[in-house]
């Protein structure tokens, strides 16, 4: 086999499928679909380093699923080519859903193996703020998680937080561990400088992500922020009881350490000036910091506060005491909840939330509304605000009217006020949290950066604004507050756009999107029963008790314990099979692994085609009488072959389920063959391989062997002698047809009938080996139609003539070799393959071929070129050329199907023309039948 792989004239295309053929003998066009193996076979040395690091185990079909292998694997020890392959089913839904393209399945797989540092690097590859998104993310990954179809999605965010907290706790040791955060990305830690300079306005997630990507590409980046601390809304918006500062600060520090210059306390309001001062590009990532208010009476009174102002003051360390006050927060979203929960921590004032939406429709997260109520915040949903009531220059309340609210239409609320529901909510401090929008005042006054008021900055497909060289990303582009992940996703995207802008053709390309895996509920159940995922329920996040939250900003949610994280990780179904952790890429020293390989179509021109697609084993689980799948230690011959193989799953030992070698073995022949119920044909090979197995068991396992056979067919040279030798070696042969295999007293009892010579009709053994027969492969029908070959009644490919053309098919130029034609053993396969090659060569050598006499012909005058004949011809012998059908006389076999479907009878079959048949018909119908003629 290895010599085949190395032969200069043999082009071995493994992992490929023929998709379509056309043409005819001597002139076939073959389209081959090469599946990506994700490893460059010409580079891979087969060192197996990748399998060592791969966290994904799966059953190994080559070992008849007796053992496991990794997602990156080599087909078998002798495989040609010897390269490894990665088995991917596609992109996992979690990764597909995440705006940052986070490979969640990957880090979860690594967590399962307790490789937390590896998991951390895997996260960092796409995500510079794991601690933030481990806490406050809207986790679109979980919404998409396949497991959600079965019970509840995997707590992906919880696992991420566990990993990021672990990394923070071990931050001092972390640098010792190999940093793999760049593996599989287009980035390098110390890149060659491009000499280009980029200014980034805004140190929020969008700005910092883009900054990091750009420095890693060799551009020099400076980030400006008007605020005294970096992090944008993550830092000054999201309050500390949800997002502790020290973690974020550590993450920002890591980012800045890669060589980004940061200038705080600098509000930029001259973008053209920035460009003139030598920047090649500018990124606007200024977020959405302008809080909206309604223009109602007294909304300008100083006791009207703004949500972000309060949050920012807290973030900057200001001490505020609201004790004894009545605070009403206006708005029902997440910001309102944050403000309310922040306010209540400032001296336990009376805090309430009032909003338009009804309780069930409030845009804030449901869980957080619950927590807010738990913390003592009162809700007044379903009302609109008419006036801030001021008495004696002090705010005393908010006048509201109850409404029936149906949502927003064109930016305006669509609602009906309920008459007579006018009332005043008492308040001495009102905090507005009805939405944020970007502040555009820093943009050039000449309007050269277009905005779509009141939404965001307008950008083109490449995220560039109307001012060349000025890009925009994050909340400011979208015009309102979104989520951190979205900002990070846009940060990555805009970095690629800027890179393309700066480097033209050489810039980064958008990543190739592979298909997403979709698992059905059944698939999920199989994975759980196969043990690839546990059946545990989802581990929830727990919180610190209520009393510990009073008047402080301690983080409320707790991180998962290691045990919990492991339990949760076990729940991951591993949708894509390969988890895309990219550990293999890091491990492969010669860089043979490319996870972005794509399917390829290769067109070949060939003169002859030999089909040698082989057979498949009869699956004995459909025959319950033999006990396979029902009883332990009933195995197939194939499984035995893997067990006895020194490189097999048991290292060459034949073992029972309990790990002990069997003392007695029964070999049952004709399983699934020569039967009315299963396959009627004789599989021809099983007699001989059963003898071989009998000898192996006898010689190497030292067990007692009983062979139950129906007829011993030893039809080739030396086989009878082999049979006699086996008999003499002491193997017991019983004639009969096995009726059942049952478990009795801990042993397997095999019974049969038809016994003669007064021999036994049952035997009790430790192990039963089923000599399963041959079947056509499952895809045989599809292959037959691709190559237009017929099939015999038992489903194998049919030769043109059993005696005179045994390796040819009805289609010239397509030949058969091996067990795809009928069951045969290796010597026969080899002989037949030689025959097929000889016929193919003699055809090629002759240079001419004989045609069928009766073939189809087109009367072009009548042909409409409708192509119905083309679709109908079993031999792909017709093509439409210049608007009429043209029959390829080399391929036409003269079946006449085309003549029958042709609506206009433009197609005729020579020697069976319509004229001839109609004349026959008329003649036949004119003969009268008299009763005497009837015999």
């Amino acid at each position: 086999m290895a010599s085949v792989g190395r032969h200069p004239n043999i082009n071995l295309m493994a992992y490929s499928e023929v998709e379509h053929i056309s043409g005819y003998i001597g002139n076939f066009d073959v389209r081959v679909h090469r599946k990506p193996r994700y490893i460059d076979a010409s580079v891979c040395t087969g060192c197996s380093k990748c399998t060592e690091v791969c966290p994904v185990d799966t059953l190994n079909p080559f070992d008849m699923n007796l053992g496991t292998r990794k997602a990156v694997y080599r087909h078998s020890a002798q495989a040609v080519p010897g390269s490894y392959t990665i088995e991917k089913l596609g992109v996992a839904p979690c990764r597909n859903a995440c705006p940052t393209d986070q490979r969640a399945q990957g880090y979860i797989a690594l967590v399962r193996e307790k490789r937390y540092a590896d998991a951390y690097w895997a996260i960092r590859r796409e995500h510079p703020f794991p601690s933030v998104c481990g806490r406050v993310c809207n986790h679109q990954c979980e919404d998409a998680c396949s497991r959600g179809k079965y019970d509840e999605p995997v707590n992906i965010m919880g696992i991420k937080r566990f990993v990021s907290d672990w990394a923070f706790a071990n931050r001092d040791e972390l640098p010792e561990m190999r940093d793999k955060s760049l593996v599989g990305t287009p980035f390098v830690h110390e890149p060659v400088s491009t000499g280009k300079k980029v200014a980034i306005i805004g140190a929020g997630p969008a700005g910092l992500t883009a900054a990091l990507d750009l420095v890693r590409l060799g551009h020099s980046v400076k980030v400006y922020d008007s605020s005294p601390i970096a992090g944008g809304m993550m830092r000054v918006g999201i309050p500390p009881h949800r997002m502790p500062d020290e973690l974020l600060d550590w993450e920002i520090e890591q980012i800045l350490n890669e060589g980004i210059e940061l200038q705080l306390n600098t509000r930029i309001d001259d973008i053209p000036g920035l460009l003139e001062s030598g920047y090649d590009g500018v990124l606007v990532a200024t977020g959405a910091h302008r809080v909206k208010k309604l223009a109602i009476r007294n909304s300008n009174h100083p006791q009207n506060w703004l949500s972000l102002d309060l949050l920012k003051r807290i973030a900057l360390g200001e001490e505020i005491d609201l004790s004894g006050k009545k605070v009403v927060v206006l708005g029902g979203g997440n910001v309102a909840l944050d403000v309310a929960r922040t306010a209540i921590r400032l001296g336990q004032p009376e805090v309430s939330i009032a909003c338009l939406e009804s309780r069930g429709e409030m845009p804030g997260f449901d869980w957080e509304i619950g927590v807010a109520e738990e913390e003592g915040i009162r809700l007044f949903p379903g009302r609109t605000f008419k006036e801030i009531v001021v008495e004696n220059e002090h705010v005393v309340g908010v006048r509201c009217v109850e409404v029936e609210f149906r949502g927003f239409k064109g930016g305006q609320p669509d609602m009906d006020e309920i008459p007579g529901s006018d009332h005043v909510l008492p308040a001495d401090l009102v905090i507005w949290a009805i939405g944020q929008g970007p502040d555009f005042s820093f943009l050039p006054p000449d309007g050269s950066v277009h905005i779509r008021y009141p939404i965001g900055v307008v950008t083109d497909d490449e995220m560039m604004t109307s001012l060349p060289g000025v890009f925009c990303a994050g909340d400011v582009r979208r015009g309102m507050t979104f989520f951190v992940v979205d900002a990070i996703g846009e940060g990555h995207h805009v970095a690629r756009c800027i890179d393309r802008y700066l480097r033209g053709e050489n810039g980064l390309k958008e990543p190739y999107q592979q298909d997403v895996v979709e698992l059905s509920v059944e698939d999920i159940e199989t994975r759980i029963t196969d043990g690839r995922a546990s059946n545990q329920p989802r581990v929830p996040i727990s919180c610190i008790p209520l009393e510990e939250r009073l008047n402080n900003f301690r983080e409320v949610d707790l991180t998962l314990t290691e045990e919990q994280a492991l339990t949760e990780a076990e729940r991951c179904l591993g949708c894509g099979l390969c988890s895309e952790c990219l550990e293999c890429v890091a491990a492969c020293e010669i860089g043979a692994i490319h996870h972005d390989m794509q399917d390829e179509l290769v067109d070949l021109k060939v003169g002859a085609i030999i089909l040698a697609t082989g057979f498949q084993d009869f699956d004995p689980s459909v025959a319950p009488e033999f006990g396979y799948g029902r009883l332990n230690n009933v195995i197939t011959a194939m499984e035995f072959e893997r067990m006895i193989n020194p490189s097999g799953p048991t290292g060459g030992e034949v073992l029972l389920k309990n790990g002990k070698p069997p003392k007695s073995v029964a070999i049952l022949q004709c399983i699934g063959s020569r039967s009315e119920q299963y396959n009627s044909h004789c599989s021809r090979v099983c007699c001989m391989y059963s003898l071989k197995i009998a000898q192996l068991v006898h010689d190497y396992v030292n067990a007692e062997v009983h062979e139950i056979y129906r007829d011993m067919r030893t039809v080739s040279g030396g086989y009878e002698a082999f049979f006699n030798r086996t008999k003499q070696a002491g193997v017991n042969f019983y004639h009969g047809q096995v009726t059942e295999v049952e478990k009795k007293n801990g042993r397997l009892v095999v019974s049969w009938d038809e016994s003669y010579y007064n021999e036994p009709d049952h035997v009790a053994v430790d192990m039963v080996i089923l000599a399963t027969g041959f079947e056509p492969r499952d895809d045989v029908g599809q292959v037959a139609s691709t190559f237009s070959v017929s099939r015999s009644p038992n489903g194998f490919f049919l030769e043109r003539h059993p005696k005179l053309a045994p390796v040819e098919t009805a289609t010239d130029g397509i030949y058969l070799a091996g067990a795809c034609q009928s069951p045969m053993d290796i010597p026969d396969c080899v002989a037949q393959a030689g025959g097929a090659v000889a016929v193919a060569l003699s055809m090629i050598d002759q240079g001419t071929i004989a045609l069928e006499p009766s073939i189809a012909a087109v009367e072009t005058l009548y042909c409409a070129g409708c192509g119905q004949c083309v679709a109908a011809c079993p031999y792909l012998a017709i093509e439409i050329t210049d608007g009429v059908a043209v029959v390829n006389e080399y391929s036409c076999k003269g079946c006449g199907t085309c003549a029958a479907v042709c609506p206009n009878k433009a197609m005729k079959l020579i020697h069976y023309s319509d004229q001839q048949i109609v004349a026959e018909m008329i003649g036949a119908l004119n003969l009268s039948v008299t009763p005497e003629e009837v015999t």
Partner: protein, 301 residues
């Protein structure tokens, strides 16, 4: 009204930009009858109309037009560089586009399809007999108000609920075989073999119809009843899995022969057996392809 304006605007734009050399649509003739129109000049676009009498299926004209454009270009008679025509289609007509592209009568990129969100066509359309204003029976049964293929959609398709109850067919299938023979003979009896039904059908595009050959192999040219029946059954069979139900054949028949019953019965049959709806996609008739495990054919004799 506004559909008319949209169609006119599109026509003008297509002709102005030179994207197509001809737009096939509808106009109103001197007797107030709606009829097919062929527009070549942007200025003529104003002749175009859309109304509830646009019953004609214009798709059969497409291959004709493409051929003549090709002919003229190759003989150098005209200087048309554009090989495209545009055609206005209703949902039913649009399916004919799919059938014909699947049957290689033209390729999809040779036609610019102006799809119209149809609201149904009235009885008597095309002959100026729209007196009662009722929707045609086929339109009452039709729930497909958006063309299956188009390059531009004119109007907004309404959601309509319509169930095809096939009661017209059932009325016949409930009869005894003898009564059915009787019924059909009384219908075919009137046929004068003008072949209008065939000429108007977008799918009938054989250069010389099998049933009009000189050799009288398949049918004699005399108009005895059994031969007319043969022609009609043959025609219907040839359209099995291909007929899109535009009903043009029945409309044009001067002898009011209910041809559509045959088409509909085969349509129902083919849909039940093969889940195939002609022209729903550009796919060949299932009758010429191999059996699929999904196919629900049953042979009972």
């Amino acid at each position: 009204m506004s559909k008319t304006i949209d169609i006119q605007a599109k026509t003008r734009q297509l002709l102005n930009s030179g994207q197509v050399s001809c737009v096939i649509g509808y106009e109103i003739g001197p007797r107030g009858r709606t009829r097919p129109a062929f527009i070549y000049q942007p200025d003529d676009a104003e002749r175009m109309v859309w109304n509830r009498s646009c019953t004609h299926n214009l798709v059969p004209y497409v291959s004709d037009k493409l051929q003549s454009i090709e002919k003229n270009t190759s003989t150098g008679e005209t200087e048309t560089t554009q090989q495209q025509v545009a055609v206005v289609v209703k949902p039913c007509d649009s399916r004919a586009i799919n059938v014909l592209t699947a049957e290689k009568q033209f390729s999809r990129d040779q036609v610019y399809v102006i799809g119209v969100a149809c609201e149904g066509i009235v009885d008597g359309a095309g002959f100026g007999r729209e007196d009662n204003g009722n929707l045609q029976a086929r339109c009452q049964r039709c729930s497909e108000r958006e063309p299956v293929v188009y390059d531009i959609l004119i109007g907004e398709p309404q959601e309509v609920e319509a169930v095809d109850d096939y009661s017209d067919l059932d009325r016949l299938t409930d009869l005894t075989p003898d009564a059915r023979v009787e019924f059909w003979l009384s219908q075919f009896d009137r046929c004068i073999r003008c072949y209008a039904c065939r000429q108007v059908c977008p799918m009938c595009n054989c250069p010389t119809c099998l049933y009009e050959r000189d050799d009288s192999l398949w049918v004699g040219m005399g108009i005895r009843l059994n031969e007319k029946r043969t022609f009609h059954l043959g025609r219907a069979y040839h359209l099995a899995g291909r007929c899109v139900g535009c009903n043009e054949c029945e409309r044009v028949c001067p002898m009011k022969i209910p041809i559509s019953l045959l088409n509909r019965m085969l349509e129902r049959e083919v849909e039940a057996a093969f889940g195939h709806r002609a022209g729903a996609a550009a796919a060949p008739s299932p009758l010429v392809t191999i059996l699929d495990s999904e196919d629900g054919i049953s042979w009972t004799s």
